[in-house]
């Protein structure tokens, strides 16, 4: 029951494409924002939204240890569930956990071939078959074209959509509130690009590219106190 509630009330449902997923197989999506705005919280909610549909999520983190990533999930799930009432969630939490796998690498050691090797370790022994992959912490100071190009055929082969978090920088000359539009060179790498744009006390979710890009700004906000995604209309 709680699971259904969470799925129906999931604000991300407004972003789904025709196949009822956020990304089609082999597609790339990016969450772009400045440091500290809530990229990881957002991507964890994308993961939870997949986990609630029993999709296997592989979370690749390049700068946080496993325990810290787990904490992100626990915290976001708890807040997510709390926002829909005080129903006990332990059982649901334990059920969805079996669909999640966390892999962490040192940023400097990460390579697509290493990831491919690890994923085949998992699939060959039937331990885990990812259906959504999240890569958190990849450096975007230069567009990581090489990594993405190498990953694209693998994503198609595995039949997964891959989400990335990308940190963008505020141009030095401006002190204006909010973020500048990220460079096209970065946006061009993805089928879907979502920017988190903070103003005084809210974080706007702007869809820069993707199936719903034309339909206003998805009407979504990130609540800065809980880091949960919410509908503007609910506010």
């Amino acid at each position: 029951m709680l699971k259904n509630d969470l799925m129906v009330k999931n604000p991300l449902r407004g972003l789904v494409n025709d196949t009822n997923t956020l990304l089609a197989k082999g597609e790339f999506g990016a969450i772009l924002a400045r440091a500290g705005v809530g990229k990881t919280a957002f991507i964890v909610q994308i993961a939870l939204s997949g986990l609630l549909q029993h999709k296997n999520v592989l979370h690749v983190s390049l700068d946080e240890p496993v325990q810290k990533v787990s904490l992100w999930y626990e915290e976001v799930f708890r807040r997510f569930a709390e926002s829909y009432g005080p129903t006990p969630v332990q059982h649901l939490w334990e059920t969805i956990l079996t669909h999640r796998f966390i892999m962490t690498f040192q940023v400097e050691d990460f390579s697509v071939s290493k990831l491919a090797e690890r994923v085949s370790d998992l699939t060959e022994q039937a331990i885990f078959f990812p259906q959504i992959i999240l890569i958190d912490g990849l450096s975007f100071s230069e567009p990581p074209t090489e990594i993405l190009n190498a990953l694209r055929p693998l994503a198609r082969q595995w039949g997964v959509g891959v989400w990335f978090t990308a940190r963008i920088h505020r141009p030095e000359a401006t002190d204006a509130v909010g973020s500048p539009k990220p460079p096209d060179a970065i946006i061009d790498l993805f089928e879907t690009a979502i920017q988190l744009d903070p103003d005084d006390n809210r974080v706007h979710v702007r869809i820069l590219k993707g199936p719903r890009a034309k339909t206003e700004h998805a009407g979504l906000l990130l609540d800065p106190s809980t880091m949960l995604i919410m509908d503007k209309s609910v506010q």
């Binding site: 979370h59 240890p65 496993v66 325990q67 990533v69 787990s70 006990p88 332990q90 334990e94 956990l97 079996t98 796998f101 966390i102 892999m103 962490t104 690498f105 040192q106 050691d109 290493k114 690890r118 370790d121 998992l122 060959e124 022994q125 331990i127 885990f128």
Partner: protein
């Protein structure tokens, strides 16, 4: 403040198994003239390291019981508690940390921050123990102190600062550069006892200067004087040491030292660091609970003239009777004085007092506040508080986890039975996580503990130290039962078979209580059950918890609410209501969808990356849920949650899968429902057993 107390250090040496704690302690004892020859842990000379006093420890190369020892270094009196490195003995580590003022966190220059280091670090945080880090084994191939320092920062969140840099590494490790004195230090002589101080080699000058700058930057956050001196470029050794000490005592800075205990390098500077950067007993605020003020927290003063408050933190059975390791927090414990054991109110006269040095001892007249010593011939349990007559305080109770594994032990003959009960009596007093009871049905003696190795060690100790001949059953997992939905009860207990009758009726409901083991709520109104029988009802329900109706495992996570009932003016009694409660429990329990829960362990395997695939496969086969993998250079840590029942014998499996290069730690995580197929298997097994017994 008493000048003497400022020169006292009570320290622990904590770390991951095999990172060289015992070797380091051995070297410390050698350089402080407490021993006159060095023996290795797995010594070819058959002597073994001095701190590993138990025969079993020597054989396995691990430290089990933390021996306390005393030494002196440049006018400082240092009490060292050598703590065990295996997670199964965590209670020992926790107890040691409770009585320590500071600790040395030993890390391996090759293995870095491993899972056990994280557990130990969390324990240090819990007891707020300031620490310094020592990166050992810098002579080993693959040694990389910089990587370890980075891990200290990232994995453990320490504000780690480099105090020394190595001159050469691995086989070329020659000595160290001290960034405070800006001198190169070499360790000459057959056992590294001759310290040669020279100027820093030209090739290391730039690095040393850059690192010193970084050190001053970090340290100046804890001292305005140092910050001013740094701006004026007049930093003195004293200022720098004082600033680092301030940071370390506040647990906001972790000074990092390097060396190789095995190659006799870097140990003496580490002893200097212990005196410089770790607190004296007076620097630490210790608390006790005042029993007369509803357990209000009170601060103890490290003053030898005040009434005594002391904690017995470890018991050992020596050749001359029971030894009780004690830490005095306040007052002075002197020979011939009397103290009260707060737990049972018994008065004890202090007889012989000694200072321990592993398994040798030295007589003393008194133990003053802040010191650690040993009492002879006192009957007490570990964790007991001793106070002066008239005082009623207790040291904060220590967190003791529940055991998760059990084993039936059967002595071979009568004489072994006597010796076994003597041994069990001792062990249960020494270690609160080790418990024992007799199963009323099978008449077997059951021992319970925190892991396979934990029980194995005690069984071995019974054989060796107490000469007990015994056989053991296969280890059993401590399963539990619980209910998953609410169910009502309304039960009448009525008996009228001559003599006075019995009558009692209880009505209400039971429901799951995820956070508490047992809750009893009385909502009876209008005297439907007279007040004097309510405790009998509770007792009746409680009696049912020990053995669940489904599988005879203990029942937990249950809330009982009684809201109705009836009594009879003549026939109702405590007995009748206890029986009614038992009947009501059985009536509702079957309807409340009972399930079996099993202990799930958090298992972390550390393995070279090339074995990652096979290790994951082996974990997956054990009904494990792999939470994640963490790659870190050539090593990889795999974290999984696995039922304890599947982990028996995993050490051997892992060893053969990884050519002995992987190791794992395991600790209790949570109780979780067993899958249906396993539950059916358990039920079948139980029926088979019953048939066999019949």
């Amino acid at each position: 403040m008493d000048d003497r107390i400022q020169k006292v250090r009570n320290i622990g040496i904590s770390a991951h198994i095999d990172s060289g704690k015992t070797t380091l302690t051995e070297r410390i004892l050698y350089y402080t003239d407490r021993i006159h020859a060095i023996h290795d842990v797995k010594g070819k000379d058959g002597v073994g390291a001095t701190m590993d006093a138990m025969e079993l420890e020597r054989e396995r190369g691990i430290t089990i019981a933390s021996a306390a020892t005393y030494c002196e270094w440049k006018g400082h009196q240092i009490n060292i508690i050598d703590t065990p490195g295996h997670v199964d003995f965590t209670i020992e580590v926790e107890r040691a940390l409770r009585v320590l003022d500071g600790a040395v966190l030993v890390l391996c220059a090759v293995g870095g921050v491993q899972s056990q280091s994280m557990t130990v670090d969390q324990q240090m945080k819990r007891y707020n123990v300031p620490c310094i880090a020592f990166i050992n084994k810098c002579d080993r191939s693959g040694a990389d102190p910089d990587r370890v320092i980075a891990q200290l920062k990232k994995k453990l969140g320490h504000n780690a600062v480099t105090m020394q840099i190595p001159i050469g590494l691995e086989a070329d490790f020659e000595g160290i550069i001290d960034l405070v004195t800006m001198k190169a230090i070499y360790f000459d002589g057959p056992n590294g006892e001759i310290i040669r101080t020279e100027d820093i080699p030209e090739a290391y000058m730039d690095t040393a200067q850059a690192q010193r700058e970084a050190l001053i930057d970090s340290a100046s956050m804890f001292s305005d004087d140092l910050m001013e001196a740094a701006l004026e470029e007049q930093v003195t050794e004293e200022l720098l040491i004082a600033a680092v000490r301030n940071g370390a005592l506040a647990r906001e800075l972790t000074p990092v030292f390097i060396g190789s205990a095995y190659k006799n390098k870097g140990v003496q500077p580490l002893l200097d660091a212990v005196s410089h950067y770790l607190p004296c007993p007076a620097d630490v605020v210790n608390h006790a609970l005042d029993m007369e003020k509803d357990e209000a927290t009170m601060v103890l003063e490290t003053n030898p003239d005040m009434p005594v408050v002391a904690l017995a933190f470890k018991l050992e059975d020596g050749p001359f009777g029971q030894l009780t390791y004690i830490r005095v927090y306040q007052g002075t414990l002197a020979k011939g004085t009397a103290v009260i054991n707060v737990r049972d109110g018994k008065k004890i006269k202090i007889g012989r007092l000694v200072r321990m040095h592993a398994d040798q001892m030295e007589d003393i007249d008194q133990i003053r506040a802040g010191y650690i010593g040993t009492l002879f011939g006192i009957d007490c349990a570990s964790g007991d508080t001793f106070v002066s007559p008239g005082l009623s305080v207790t040291m904060t109770s220590m967190f003791v986890p529940n055991p998760v594994i059990s084993l039936a032990i059967t002595p071979a003959n009568n004489s072994s039975l006597v010796k076994m009960s003597k041994a069990l009596n001792r062990f249960t007093k020494e270690d609160p996580t080790f418990r024992t009871y007799v199963n009323n049905e099978t008449r077997e003696t059951i021992v319970e503990g925190m892991g396979e190795l934990h029980l194995e060690v005690y069984v071995e100790r019974m054989r060796r130290e107490y000469d007990v001949e015994l056989s053991t059953s296969a280890p059993r997992v401590s399963y539990r039962e619980t209910i998953t939905r609410k169910a009502d009860f309304d039960y009448i207990h009525k008996k009228q078979t001559g003599g006075s009758g019995q009558f009692g009726r209880v009505g209400g409901y039971m429901e799951p209580s995820p956070d508490e083991d047992f809750i009893f709520e009385n909502n009876v109104t209008g005297g439907a059950i007279p007040t004097q029988f309510i405790p009998a009802c509770e007792k009746g329900f409680k009696a049912c918890l020990a053995k669940g109706p489904k599988m005879e495992f203990s029942v937990t996570g249950i809330k009982i609410v009684i809201s109705d009932g009836a009594s009879h003016s003549v026939d109702s009694s405590d007995m009748a209501f206890q029986a009614a409660a038992r009947g009501a429990f059985l009536q509702a329990y079957a309807k409340a969808a009972p399930v079996i829960h099993e202990p799930i362990m958090r298992v972390v395997v550390e393995t070279p990356t090339e074995f990652q695939g096979v290790v994951m496969g082996s974990l997956n086969q054990r009904r494990g849920m792999i939470v994640g993998t963490q790659e870190d250079g050539p090593l990889c840590a795999i974290e999984a949650q696995i039922p304890l029942a599947e982990m028996f014998g995993y050490t051997t499996v892992l060893r053969s899968l990884t050519q002995g290069q992987a190791q794992f730690t395991m600790e209790f995580a949570v109780y979780r429902k067993v899958p249906q197929s396993v539950a059916e298997e358990l039920i079948k097994k139980r029926e088979d057993n019953k048939r066999q017994v019949a």
